[in-house]
Amino acid sequence: MGEVMTRITWALVDLATQLLDPHERDAVCGDLAECRVSGWRALGEVLGLVLRRQAALWTEWRPWLALMGVVLPIGILLSHASRWWADSTALDMSLYIRIWEWSYLGYPGWRRDLFGIMWSVALNAAALSAWSWTCGYMLASVSRRTVWVTAMAFALVVFLATLGTSTVARITHDNFAGHFYGVVLPRLVRLAFVVLPLLWGIQSHRKSVVRPTMLLVGAAAVIILTVLVSPGLENSLVFGRGSFPDGGPDRTVGTSDDPRPLWPVAVLMLWPTAYILATIMPRRPRRLDAV
């Protein structure tokens, strides 16, 4: 038992040292090996150093830009969008599971409805993933050395920002009383389409694996996706907070005359994309004829 605990604590020490710069990691690990301290003491010492290093980094403006410009505003929006889209999917899923008959696929209207829903779910999932990827890429670009702290903060905001709120779907349907639709599905959606793409975006920047042309194509795709899903994004902030939007002059929600006061949120979601585009644009050489 003692042997296992020792191995676990030294594995944790090794993990904690990954947050240090490579040259410092070597020197610190060497010092700890030479001093023959216990695993717990080594863990405390390394975490103390990591905290001091992180605190020093947060005296600069870049981590704060990442936190206030990306983590908080976009994390909160993604938290609402992911929960609302998980709830909408849950409603469709539960309905189809309850009434499913293979023979229905023979009816063109039924097929069209089913494919329409699948298309909408795929678009929403793609939009969530694309926005999260651009956020990860921007976090790594703005503040590389604090990226794991800002990424953890981002994940926390995504999972916690909707606490204490409800959605119209939850208020009006009893499907969500069950654990799967009410708790598990929203968490799975957030994990699969927000947290994992966020980590992918961070790794893509750290390893510089995406070429500028790919970034340009990706940015165009994100803009198109955002335009396509923007009404749903706005709904996630209205229906997704348990209230109903204004139906406009015809008093019917979902028609073309509905006012859309929340349209700027789609623009906000594109801000990491705009940042990425700005970083890959070729810089014009400075004129020297003024010398």
Partner: protein
């Protein structure tokens, strides 16, 4: 430039160790002298601060087997560091004149 007390302890330990001054050795020297634990966090952040002020120079040494094949962060006190430590020590001596604990 007036040093902090921990900065002075580190400069003094590094100067005493000479060519053998590196992270773990300085830490041991400080712990022996003060009888108090010296954390790696305090040690490495103070090393960076002293290097930033130009009072020491550090570089990565060769790996050794007792350190699991990992290199040491070697430390050397610069002439500016010697001046700063001398000033600090002189100030402590001057300010301590005539007080009870400085009579011995």
């Amino acid at each position: 430039m007036l040093l902090g007390e921990f900065e002075y302890l580190m400069l003094t330990a590094a100067a005493r160790l000479g060519d053998k001054a590196y992270g773990a050795a300085i830490r041991q020297e400080i712990e022996d002298a003060t009888g108090a634990p010296c954390s790696i966090g305090a040690l490495y952040t103070t090393l960076d601060r002293l290097e930033g002020k130009g009072l020491i120079k550090t570089w990565m040494g060769d790996p050794t087997p007792e350190r699991g094949g990992r290199p040491k962060r070697m430390v050397r006190v610069t002439p500016k560091g010697v001046d700063a430590a001398t000033s600090f020590y002189s100030a402590v001596r001057r300010v301590s004149r005539g007080v009870a604990w400085a009579k011995s």
